[in-house]
Symmetry: C3
Subunit: 345 residues, 3 copies
């Protein structure tokens, strides 16, 4: 691909020879001669002179020097994402229903679907145009999957799940395992509460690898449009996750929790059942939430506190040695004062 | 199904027209005209009048009004569980050994087993009556599985594991991966300790999705009767989990831990190796346990404290700003007293 | 196997009848008559007399009595590991490419490879001598796997991953899912940043079950030689893990973290993105690390503190009730002193 074509695609300002050909993108220090490399923040400027890349994409607000050709861009992260799409290895598989795929009755495929080797598609499944179900994945009875979605290998989508358009589900993930619900009887035995509900995954959702999303007891577990879920996340039954939510790695969302829109939940956060997380909340890593939180705020700690309060509290604990010393000093002074008083009295 | 049949099955007291037909169960607010809906606690009473359901199941201790037919029940959770079994989608697969299943030598099947598409059953496996091994699951050499058990798709049961009757194992789960054991040599290299032992899963155990249960170094990792394990839980080698234990999502149990009967371990709890958790203990979410705990108590925090103590400790930390202020005030007073004394002396 | 052969293999000192035959290894109390049992630490000495084992392996520094034959050994853990290799069930599968395996174009196999039933090997994969890909595993395009490695069932190795020699990957694990990277646009929508990079797993690495290791955005995620990873661990994109590192169960390593050599990261630890963990650090269970740490030290807590400081801090919090009482007492004394002063003045 020519540098001038990339500049045009990215709406960037080209400087230098636009005719050079680029075969890959790379980090600055590991770039080969045919690579394009990125300079999006100030820390990477010193690496420009050390890089073997033959051209750069540089954020226009940075000050730099180079004799090589480059493209100046605004909006660095978005433009970075855009340019990378040009270099993504062509792994879209050609439309095909592999001869080893096992298909149930009344399965409906849209146009140009890909159904990989040793995949299993049960009865009455509906799969939209251009959707790709990779090898060794399981799609249960009556599941509906929209258009342009990708199910990576070794995924399990159990019965009656509904998945939208442009959804990506990575390997090892399970959608629709039973919610964790039991009724204890008089002898202390747990009786399984059948999990009759479903899971709905709306459009533009991405779900990482080895994620577990349980089906609802009744009704549905719901992941709304544009939400992104990292690896090894637990989403329990009857949870509702809003739009454009970030759920980072190993976070755990207990049963019947509702999460608003534009919430960011960092890694290893745990949220207790039935808690209501309102819009625009940020929950820092490892936080444990057991009560409803106020919108538009940042929380941290177990139990969760508003970030300012959490930091003050940590600082107060850090200053305890001084407090102990001060109280000791006061004790001594008081003891002296007391003696003085006795003497003087 | 007729309402009067449901009333009879659930041992409930029918009020109104028992002849109406119900085709599903639902939450109150999303119910369709042919649905049965549940009113099991006081919060849901206001939703009765807004519900489209044509009949209700209502806990007999609640006060409510409705002109629709209903069934009064005691024991709400158990009866709820019981009624739902009537409406569970008929997903028991008809007995069949799918033509694409790969079967080893000397495999023994009980009657009416289901062996799904693209499953792999290795040599000398024994599978009991009515057990269902769904598609894409792996059952290793010499594994024994009892009667009426369900192995969901994409499960791995490695060699020599023993699984009882009425066991449910959800997708993505691994039973019998090697325990995490190494011997460090003189140059700092970790040498693998072969994991020769097994895993035994007793009757009536349910295991969620993406769970990892490791085989023992020697002997066995043991999950006793009636225990229920949620998603993404880690059970390390040589662990013994008692009867009727609850292990919630993302909990982690380290090597050689023993857990008594009727213990509840909440989400994201971690238990260090060789710790002994006695009967009837409850461990709250995200707690970190590094020492043996007393039976019949509730624990919280890292490191784990008895709940009352943990809460007092949190309250004490919350009151630190006041303590700092108070000490400052005392300092001032003492300084004044000291001046007074000097003056008066 | 004869006891004298085991003694010779283990470089141990035989005492008693070396001709007895042993068919298994076991824990002391559950040993059968044909078993060899181990006494490696002082706690197990009382079990010698209760054991049915017909011979023992005993650490030479222990004091004990038995009339049965035994082998005295030094270096107990290493020798234990060595002897167990003799008794590991012969589960190396005979070299075979199963007839149900699906092989892409231009796949290259070394000698004596095992490719299990229903596995899928995509185009241009290279697999070294004696390597075993078990059933139902997926190996993506252009993946390279070295010699003597074992991939357990239901593993997903996505495109372009490089795996070394003597690597073990347990079931349910995913190598090369996309890193979790998005660029937020002006309307708050997350745009996927294509993940173009790879993952490199060096020689002698073992990876547990249900682990997620993401591919890099650009460049590579790297796990260096001899590192051992437990179950359900998250390794995000562009992470570099050094040599001989221990990553215990459910630990989570965020994007672009670097970990030095000989580091031990305990269970459920979380490390924030871009943090630098230097050589020989030990991080205790459930610790949350958000800043770079000093080499050769032990850390604990969220946020992570050096262990001594963390313990002092916990002790200080535990002593708060006494501090509150002391301050109350001081208050009273001051109030009395103040009255005295007023009286005396």
């Amino acid at each position: 691909m020519k540098l001038k074509e990339i500049a045009q695609f990215a709406n960037g300002e080209l400087s230098g020879d636009g005719e050079i050909e680029l075969s890959g993108v790379s980090e600055l220090l590991t770039a080969k001669l045919t690579d394009l490399a990125f300079v999006l923040d100030v820390q990477h400027i010193p690496e420009i002179s050390k890089s073997n890349a033959s051209a750069f994409v540089i954020f226009k607000d940075l000050k730099f020097e180079t004799s090589k050709p480059y493209i100046l861009i605004g909006n660095p992260h978005l433009t970075f994402a855009k340019i990378l799409t040009l270099f993504l290895n062509q792994d879209k598989f050609s439309p095909e229903i592999h001869s080893t795929a096992v298909l149930g009755k009344n399965v409906k495929f849209g146009k140009d679907v890909f159904i990989g080797a040793h995949s299993v598609i049960e009865d009455e499944v509906v799969i939209g145009d251009y959707t790709c179900i990779m090898s060794l994945s399981y799609v249960g009875r009556r599941v509906k999957i929209g258009k342009n979605s990708i199910i990576y290998p070794n995924v399990s989508v159990l019965r009656d799940i509904v998945i939208g358009n442009n959804v990506i589900i990575h390997s090892g993930t399970v959608i629709g395992s039973d919610g964790f619900g039991y009724a204890k009887d008089e002898v202390g035995k747990y009786n399984k509460i059948p999990q009759i509900g479903s899971v709905i995954i709306e459009d533009d959702v991405e779900i990482g690898s080895n994620v577990s999303i349980d089906r609802a007891t009744l009704g549905k577990t719901l992941i709304k449009k544009g939400t992104k879920i990292d690896n090894l996340v637990q989403v329990a039954h009857n949870v509702i996750i809003g739009e454009n939510v970030i759920l980072a790695g190993q976070a755990g969302i207990s049963g019947s929790v509702t999460v608003g829109n534009n919430v960011i939940i960092a890694g290893q956060v745990g949220i207790a059942d039935h808690v209501n997380i309102k819009d625009n909340i940020i929950i820092a890593a490892q936080t444990g939430v057991s009560k409803d939180l106020e919108p538009n705020k940042i929380y941290f700690g177990t139990p969760a506190k508003e970030m300012g309060e959490a930091k003050r509290s940590l600082a107060e604990v850090s200053r305890l040695p001084k407090l102990y010393q001060k109280v000791k000093d006061l004790e001594k002074k008081i003891s002296e004062l007391s003696k003085d008083n006795k003497t003087s009295n």
